[in-house]
Symmetry: C2
Subunit: 120 residues, 2 copies
DNA sequence: CCGTATCCTAGCTGATACTG
DNA sequence: CAGTATCAGCTAGGATACGG
């Protein structure tokens, strides 16, 4: 039953795995307002390391969600910008973010109740 | 700069971390059509282990996204069902799933191009 | 300024066996 | 049927140092 299932063929799993990593949503969200350079992103996405920022940006570029433009200035500068595909994913993801902001308190109180042994 | 940021205070991070685990979206999606028993879920969510199913269900229950009802029959049966909060998150998440299904091919071809060295 | 390379650890995850 | 317990492997992620 389960063995005839190939995870790489499942769009839901496959896509969600790529946009639901620790940093990906925050990066996409930050770039939604417009193109940013590496150092700007590093400042605006709290607590991310350069290593993870680079890796996440590469993954997103690979998936066609953002573009990377290198300006051969001195010192070099690199700009990241959402592609059409990247902008399009921000519609549903934006809705999810809105949900998160609107229902965070409900989840917190549900957790409090559960932890206090309210489960019947 | 980054040190004045508390991840537990960030709704986006906090909520997304909980609904974007490996199994959570699939479980929510499966329960969207109605209540299911543990064994039914185990069959319908491909490749999940009992261990992970139990753990994911507990987390979702703790966050108030689903309810757990035990029927003291012999042998016991347990039903899981989305709460109002769980149903409400399926609106944006359903949109994301739709996006995933509609844009999976685009992502795959973007990846192919990238891997073939098309990056300028 | 924009990365890469290397090492290292925490915790997620699966496999397996057992219980009420 | 619906879990729990235990153990081991893997890998995402962080710290640090270095390079173009």
């Amino acid at each position: 039953m389960a063995s005839d299932f190939d995870p790489t063929m499942c769009p839901v799993r496959n896509v969600l795995d790529h946009i639901s990593t620790k940093w990906t949503p925050l990066i996409l969200l930050t770039l939604q307002s417009g193109a940013l350079r590496f150092s700007q992103l590093h400042k605006q996405v709290p607590d991310i390391s350069k290593r993870m920022l680079t890796q996440s940006l590469r993954d997103l570029e690979r998936d066609g969600l953002l573009s990377r433009k290198v300006f051969p200035t001195k010192p070099p500068s690199v700009e990241y910008e959402l592609t059409e595909l990247g902008l399009s994913v921000m519609v549903p993801m934006g809705a999810l973010v809105d949900w998160a902001e609107n229902n965070f308190e409900k989840m917190k109180s549900a957790r409090r109740d559960f932890d206090n042994g309210m489960q019947v």
